[in-house]
């Protein structure tokens, strides 16, 4: 089995069919775990990392987690494939840059979970779902955690909980995040208020690709910062019942305000996006994300019916550099890549030549 299948299949989380997927693209829950009796990754020897890797692989690949699990060693993995895994949110950018034979990732072929081995912690187990499905994602990640833990002892202390390399993860080791599409809050300039409010209640706001990345395409990741002193259920429930519904309500209000007060400007943005995406011969990746964002808003508000949400969700991903090159079958740089991107988008939007 190779990564080929992952390129052509869009993962479950991108179907755009999950609850509240008009605003929430995906939900993610990840657990950070370390094996007992080993130093953390950054302070371990090569031999120790190899031993950690072997122990984890035996337990992850023994058939109990899923029918088909793909194991990828990141050093043997071609660079474009590593990049593809980053674009799919299956590994971090940090993990992709690794030059260490003992780094790997396990991914189930339906892309519902990924397990990074020897990233910052020995294990980073993540489950990804479309729309708001935090309870479901936690249920799955918890089950995976229990299966791995049947054979492997975790570093755990009564006081600090699951011990992690960075103290910002210690305790539950759990990071809950949702990927939000907030074009109306951006257009109305309200987004900074949301950012500030989120920070005040100890939530992190990031762009499309996590830490340090910008919110291209009006896509924002919001996640909990607190992992110690609050239970998994408390953290999840606050997210699912308070944080996410409030942000969705803000975005909906902003969308209604745009419709009522600036409908011509709104339609202009939407139809310009459509015009450029269906006609342009060269497109840059950031430009595409902005245009797709406006188009997605138009579809969600029923202003344009010539394209469906799933196609747009897929294009957010397929227009990224590694995906483009995998679809194309060869490396593409600069102008050639921009040309290939424009062509792919015209084809997918049913406007080829």
């Amino acid at each position: 089995m190779t990564l080929g299948r992952i390129t052509t299949n869009a993962g479950e989380w991108l179907r755009g069919a999950g609850p509240r997927s008009d605003v929430v693209l995906s939900s993610r829950v990840r657990l950070a775990r370390n094996l007992a009796g080993f130093p953390f990754v950054s302070r371990s020897s090569r031999r120790q990392r190899e031993e950690i890797l072997e122990r984890c692989r035996d337990q992850i690949m023994n058939g109990q987690l899923a029918e088909n699990v793909l194991w990828v060693g990141l050093v043997e993995c071609p660079q474009v494939d590593c990049q593809l895994l980053v674009e799919r949110h299956l590994i971090s950018r940090q993990h992709a840059r690794a030059n260490d034979l003992a780094r790997a990732v396990a991914v189930d072929t339906n892309e519902t979970f990924s397990i990074m081995v020897n990233e910052e912690d020995h294990l980073r187990i993540a489950v990804l779902r479309s729309g708001v499905q935090l309870a479901e994602a936690f249920e799955q990640v918890n089950r995976i955690d229990n299966i791995i833990e049947k054979k492997l002892d975790y570093a755990f202390s009564k006081r600090f909980g699951y011990l992690t390399a960075c103290p910002t993860n210690v305790g539950t080791g759990m990071r809950v995040s949702v990927m939000l599409h907030l074009p109306a809050l951006k257009l109305t300039g309200e987004i900074d208020k949301v950012r500030r409010a989120a920070r005040d209640i100890h939530l992190a706001v990031r762009g499309l690709f996590g830490e340090g990345s910008e919110a291209h395409g009006d896509l924002y990741q919001i996640s909990n910062q607190t992992t110690l002193g609050r239970s998994e259920q408390e953290i999840l429930s606050e997210f699912e019942h308070t944080v996410v519904p409030q942000i969705i309500a803000y975005e909906q209000q902003a969308r209604q305000a745009l419709l009522q007060q600036r409908s011509v400007q709104l339609d202009d943005k939407i139809w310009r996006a459509w015009a450029i995406l269906t006609q342009a011969r060269m497109l840059g990746s950031e430009e595409v994300l902005t245009l797709l964002s406006h188009l997605r808003l138009g579809v969600n508000l029923g202003r344009i019916q010539t394209v469906d949400i799933q196609t747009i969700n897929e294009l957010f991903l397929l227009s990224q550099p590694a995906h483009l090159q995998k679809i194309n079958g060869s490396a593409m740089e600069g102008a050639v890549r921009r040309q290939g991107r424009a062509e792919l988008i015209r084809r997918r939007l049913g406007a080829a030549d």
């Binding site: 953390f40 950054s42 302070r43 031999r47 002892d153 755990f156 009564k158 600090f160 103290p167 002193g229």
Partner: protein, 174 residues
């Protein structure tokens, strides 16, 4: 509105209860000075952001380092298992091994409390099999540390013996 924090403040008790006042505010309304002294809870009630100047731990650590720059500690606190120094942790905010949590407990606790929204103790999931006890975890960690050192110094006889010890130790059910 003028906010006065910390030692400059005079009044020590909250206006609304007997808890220590942590937020001190002086407001001038129509030329008249109104002082407010509130505890965290009542300040929050009044809509005054408490602890809203939350910063990620990296930033806290950088500030901490800055605060101490120029006066590098003569003896850095060091984890006796993995050899990581506290100053090294401050630089990259990654700990070396589980034992570091114990070795650095004193300077780490206040940082952790701020980064974790006053969380100090774990609440939540516990490994199903209850894992192995903390003492055994520590023993195992130290044995593996000695093994790594033996391998590094090419003392293969000692390494082989330690490897046997470790598998025997791991095989023993507590």
């Amino acid at each position: 509105m003028v906010l006065v924090w910390g030692p400059q403040a005079v009044k020590k008790i909250c206006d609304k209860c007997n808890h220590p006042a942590t937020v001190h505010e002086v407001e001038i309304v129509k030329g008249q000075k109104i002082e407010k002294h509130l505890c965290d809870d009542h300040a929050r009630e009044e809509g005054i952001a408490v602890g809203a100047d939350y910063k990620p731990i990296n930033e806290l650590l950088t500030n901490f380092v800055k605060m101490h720059s120029g006066s590098a500690p003569a003896h850095d606190l060091v984890c006796d298992n993995c050899g990581m120094g506290f100053s090294e942790f401050r630089e990259n905010s990654l700990l070396g091994c589980p034992q570091c949590y114990i070795a650095f407990e004193a300077p780490l606790s206040p940082l952790l409390e701020r980064a974790q929204d006053n969380g100090t103790h774990h609440i939540g999931k516990v490994p199903q099999r209850c894992g192995i006890g903390e003492r055994r975890q520590e023993q195992l960690l130290r044995m593996r540390n000695r093994l790594a050192e033996a391998v590094k110094s090419e003392d293969f006889e000692l390494a082989a013996r330690l490897r046997d010890d470790i598998s025997q130790f791991e095989g023993v059910v507590e």
